[in-house]
């Protein structure tokens, strides 16, 4: 077990593609850090640099006390779970689990002990003598996890390990990974572009965009105080409503408060909007569409003078119908101010 430190890490691929622009990140011992961001933002690249599968153009990566820049993947003592699992198709499940231990000259009894333990924890004991192609997707996923834990490495690296599973299984495996990581206390870096997965798994969340880190913090902190427009729009589902101040002021009239100088975009979470009356910016509009999700309903409301539809979340069933007019307020304390030009939060 070890901490992982990235200092000024950059990656330029051949052909002058800069995938990572100077990233600094400290991952503490035993922590589960999730890298999240849109496709192509450099999550996999960063993870693969930690694993030693990509060279590091600039900066240093250390695992524990050692700078690992020039170390082979094998010498870094990490384990990786791949999106396609990368199980060795010609080996049985048992051989898959044993391969890494054998290569490191682990004694036979120790190998047997660890494989048995991993098989018990992951409930894959019945399949130990099968080939990977004789397993279901979920079972393969467990074997891939098993191959990582038998090694007892300093860190686990996960690259979208659940994205090939169906939604239900993904939910189960997510909980299982969380439980496993808590009990093993192995430092982990987990890449995903599913923000629900990111929010629920992470001790700390790293939001990336275009090869840069946008914000690092506890998932709830990021949700409550997004540091940039990008994070505000990326974290949370349905996404935060982001409105230009001048349009809003024109529509709100007298109820428009004075905002911090520099804030020219305001954001509000759909579940913070209050239906009916109250304190705050008073608006009214027409319900265009209602999405009943079950426990709550998502209302898409068109307000005259505002280009995009606002999203409102109403707990339980919607008590209005489509095409009806509703009044609602945006409470002042729930507003987030952003600057359009810098893209940053304004307090």
């Amino acid at each position: 077990m070890a901490s992982i430190d990235l200092k000024g890490v950059r990656k330029v691929y051949p052909g002058n593609v800069t995938a990572i622009h100077s990233v600094d990140l400290s991952i503490e011992d035993g922590e589960l850090v999730v890298l999240v961001g849109p496709s192509g933002c450099g999550k996999s690249t960063l993870l693969r640099m930690i694993a030693g599968l990509e060279t590091i153009t600039d900066g240093t990566i250390s695992i524990g006390a050692d700078v690992v820049n020039n170390k082979e993947p094998a010498e870094r003592d990490i384990a990786m779970v791949f999106q396609n699992y990368a199980l060795y198709p010609h080996m049985s499940v048992r051989q898959n689990l044993e391969y890494g231990l054998k290569n490191r000259g682990t004694p036979r009894e120790e190998i047997d002990r660890r494989v048995a333990e991993a098989a018990r924890v992951l409930e894959i004991a019945p399949f130990l003598d099968r080939k990977p192609r004789q397993l279901s997707g979920g079972q393969r996923q467990r074997v891939a996890m098993g191959r990582a834990i038998v090694r007892q490495p300093k860190a686990f690296l996960f690259d979208e390990p659940l994205s090939n599973l169906d939604a239900k299984l993904r939910g189960q495996m997510r909980i299982e990974i969380r439980r496993l990581q808590r009990s093993l206390k192995t430092t982990s870096v987990y890449v995903t572009h599913d923000q629900l997965e990111a929010m629920t798994l992470a001790d700390r969340l790293v939001v990336m965009n275009g090869g840069r880190i946008e914000q690092v913090g506890k998932p709830i902190e990021l949700y409550d105080r997004p540091a940039s427009l990008f994070v505000a729009g990326f974290i949370g589902s349905p996404p935060m409503n982001l409105l230009p101040v001048e349009t809003l002021a024109a529509v709100a009239g007298a109820t428009m408060p004075t905002l911090t100088p520099g804030a020219d975009i305001v954001g509000i979470r759909p579940d913070q909007v209050v239906l009916g009356g109250g304190d705050g910016i008073a608006l009214s509009g027409t319900v265009e569409l209602i999405e009943p999700v079950g426990g709550e309903s998502h209302l898409y409301v068109r307000v005259e003078g505002i280009e995009q539809a606002l999203i409102l979340v109403q707990q339980g069933r919607a008590n209005v119908g489509e095409a009806e007019r509703i009044d609602f307020v945006l409470p002042i304390q729930a507003l987030h101010g952003f600057n359009r030009e810098s893209g940053r939060r304004v307090e």
Binding site: A51, G52, L53, E72, P73, A74, I78, A79, M80, F82, N84, A86, Y88, P89, H90, Y99, G100, N103, R104, R147, R151
Partner: protein, 294 residues
């Protein structure tokens, strides 16, 4: 599997369309093969005026003929050597090119050329290179104290045809190995690297086992090639000599039949070769078509 069925306007058309191929196969392959089987049971007088049925006499004699048995041993040596050399080198080349990812196409094209060269031309090429009076290699070898003359030295003649035949076959093997290597997912290599296996270990424990269907297929194809398709190479380089040293089974069919004019024995030999092909093909269909299990 669902295959799309084509509906023809008239029932006769499909037969008409395959007819040219069928006719060619019948006239040039099936009929001569039938003739060979027939004449292997017959004896013909030197002028071809009368034939008599002699049963298995030719076969019996062949298996008691030391020259034929020696040729069999020679063919086995030749076939094994060519298969091992051409597959081994092809695998090395394919692995090297596979690492280059993109710039690989230029190398691949170069490596394909030998396959396009006709066997006779390939033979003549190597005959020139190894020619004891004018060739470049004997000249070089002289510095190492090797006196090269494949026209006199049987062992050297065998080496010459092995080299010439392997050279021609490397391209074909290379292509299949390269395709095989490219179908091994990169993530398996990466997983193995993280699992602590060095490049050689990765190759032997991950890549090579996954290539086994390709390797098996190529083994059969190469054995077939060396046993039957090397006639041109041998004819152009050594013509079976010196003193029978490179007279393989397929060349012996020709030399006994056309030069020795012993058509009965020559036919029996070609029937035996035919049986070899049939056996190899059956093996290929049974195992390769069903995919070698891993």
């Amino acid at each position: 599997m669902d295959t799309k069925r084509t509906v023809f306007p008239s029932q006769g058309l499909p037969y008409l369309l395959v007819a040219p191929q069928l006719i060619i196969t019948l006239i040039f392959f099936i009929w001569p093969a039938g003739q060979a089987v027939k004449s292997s049971f017959e004896r013909e007088d030197p002028f071809g005026l009368s034939t008599s049925f002699v049963g298995l006499m030719h076969y019996g004699r062949l298996f008691q003929d030391p020259a034929y048995l020696a040729s069999m041993g020679r063919t086995a040596l030749f076939a094994l050597a060519v298969t091992v050399i051409s597959m081994g080198l092809a695998l090395v080349l394919a692995t090297a090119v596979n690492r280059l990812i993109r710039s690989g196409t230029a190398y691949s094209t170069l490596l394909l050329w030998p396959y396009a060269v006709s066997p006779v031309v390939a033979g003549i090429l190597w005959w020139f290179i190894f020619n004891s009076t004018t060739g470049i290699l004997p000249y070089v070898l002289e510095f190492f104290g090797v006196d090269w003359n494949h026209q006199l030295n049987g062992g050297q003649a065998m080496i010459l045809i092995i080299i010439a035949a392997s050279w021609k076959q490397i391209s074909y093997n290379f292509l299949f190995f390269l395709a095989g290597l490219q179908s091994v997912p990169q993530s398996l290599n990466e997983a193995a690297a993280i699992d602590g296996a060095g490049p050689f270990k990765r190759f032997w424990t991950i890549v090579f086992p996954l290539l086994s269907p390709t390797t098996f297929f190529l083994m059969i194809v190469n054995l077939n090639y060396t046993m039957f398709d090397t006639f041109g190479v041998i004819d152009a380089t050594t013509a079976g000599g010196p003193n029978q040293a490179t007279n393989t089974l397929v060349y012996k069919v020709y030399s006994d039949g056309y030069i020795g004019l012993n058509l009965g024995s020559s036919s029996a030999q070609s029937v035996i070769l035919m049986l070899f092909v049939i056996v190899l093909t059956v093996i290929q269909f049974r195992y390769v078509e069903r995919r070698v299990q891993y």
